[in-house]
């Protein structure tokens, strides 16, 4: 078995995962970052995106929206606004959210509202992407 490190993924509404992990792949601001045991300490922020971690040789996937990660050689902590398993995602709700956001983007909005709508659209698209890719 490969060397493991301690991983904690904590969302605002629950502890998503707590335990050992062999390999973690996150979407950082400028691309994918792979983390294994003994990684150098880094801190980075996580935009809305996909996340996968390997436990006992099996990949687990999750959709994550907004947060940050602190990596230490023997442990990593992810603090996120929201984190969901592909099978937990409510496809209908995500679709509705996407349509709502797209609709709103066509309207005239202030810059602040525009960014907020864009972020909402991002979250909805990410949810749909993750659930379509990994949950069939």
């Amino acid at each position: 078995m490969a060397k493991t490190f301690h991983l904690e993924i904590i969302a605002t509404d629950r502890i998503f995962y707590q335990g050992d992990c062999e390999h973690l792949v996150i979407t950082a601001i400028d691309g994918l970052v792979g983390i294994m045991a003994g990684h150098e300490p880094i801190v980075t922020t996580l935009p809305t995106g996909e996340l996968k971690y390997m436990v006992d040789g099996k990949w687990n996937y999750a959709a994550i929206s907004g947060g940050f990660i602190q990596v230490m050689p023997d442990s990593s902590i992810i603090l996120a606004d929201n984190c969901e398993l592909p099978e937990e995602i409510d496809i209908k709700r995500a679709q509705e959210a996407r349509e709502r956001a797209q609709e709103r983007l066509r309207q005239k909005q202030s810059i602040k509202e525009y960014y907020q709508t864009q972020a909402a659209l991002n979250r909805a698209m990410n949810r749909l992407k993750v659930s379509q890719k990994h949950f069939k």
Partner: protein
């Protein structure tokens, strides 16, 4: 002795109020259950957020990030301070609102210049209180556009509030931002508390117990410390505000439940006392009637 009808009317009116307080008690206890659950769900995040941020700061090289800027060039009496105060939307919850308002009032007294203080009040009760206070000529500006409820806290609302104060901090409208809320110490004790949100504090400069500088490995930041901090601190502010909102909401329900429970109990006590009086008055009336009848009969017999 009081009139029988009067006593009966009083008992009836107390019974009506008892129904209301009892209903409010039941409602707040079910809301409390929900609030407790969300508090329990959020607490791990809230605590982890603080310890992680602390440990990240220990590993952070010195940055000239905007949110760390203490603006020490501005003298104490010219500093513009903002307070986010979390109160309830309605009364009838014992001393909950009173405590938090008193605490804020104290804070304002201590501020070097009250004219430079602005309040961002969440919840109807606090907003009314401070707006009335402003109208009666006392200083401390209340932002009347800041309309947020404290019912069922959401992350989205916390984000909006965080965005608002960060914007004001960035544009120089505020130099310091504090958050005042009620903290649940244990299930039965609550305490008003103040937390500094901005500028961001570096409490410990990585000193060991013996006073020597800790040799901490500097973590690397992707893509750069400034950029990470620019994302991380709004995130942190949002997390802290959300956590405070959840705590405060839970406290509010707890105090309302206690207050309504006490009201129900004392209403029951009053009804008990009044029924005793009522029965006594009724008995007296009956006795009097019997005496009159007897007296009448005796006078006929003579």
């Amino acid at each position: 002795m009081a009139n029988i009808r009067e006593i009966r009317e009083r008992i009836d009116s107390i019974k009506q109020i008892l129904k209301i307080t009892n209903a409010m008690y039941l409602m707040s206890s079910s809301k409390l259950k929900k609030a407790r659950k969300s508090l329990e769900d959020t607490e791990p995040y809230f605590y982890k957020l603080q310890t992680t941020i602390d440990s990240i700061l220990e590993h952070t090289p010195h940055t000239r990030q905007l949110y760390f800027d203490r603006r020490s060039g501005i003298p104490e009496e010219k500093r513009k301070k903002g307070y986010i105060v979390i109160t309830a939307d309605k009364g009838l919850c014992g001393s909950y609102n009173h405590n938090i308002l008193k605490f804020t009032e104290n804070e304002l007294q201590q501020a070097a210049d009250i004219d430079n203080c602005s309040l961002f009040v969440m919840g109807q009760v606090g907003r009314m209180y401070f707006q009335n206070r402003m109208r009666s000529g006392k200083k401390a500006y209340v932002d009347s556009e800041f309309l947020y409820t404290t019912q069922n806290p959401t992350l989205y609302r916390a984000m909006e509030i965080a965005q608002l104060v960060l914007d004001k901090f960035e544009s120089g409208e505020l130099d310091e931002v504090y958050l005042i809320y009620t903290d649940m110490v244990t299930a039965n004790t609550q305490e008003a508390r103040k937390v500094r949100l901005l500028p961001f504090e570096r409490k410990h400069l990585g000193k060991d117990k013996d006073g020597t500088l800790k040799k901490l490995p500097k973590a690397s930041f992707l893509p750069s410390p400034e950029e990470v901090m620019a994302e991380l601190i709004p995130n942190y502010a949002k997390g802290v505000i959300y956590g405070a909102m959840v705590e405060a909401f839970c406290c509010e329900q707890q105090s309302r439940m206690t207050a309504m429970d006490a009201a129900t109990t004392s209403a029951k006590d009053m009804i008990k006392d009044l029924s005793l009086l009522y029965n006594r008055a009724r008995q007296a009336a009956i006795t009097q009637e019997i005496t009159e009848v007897c007296g009448g009969a005796a006078s006929i017999g003579e």
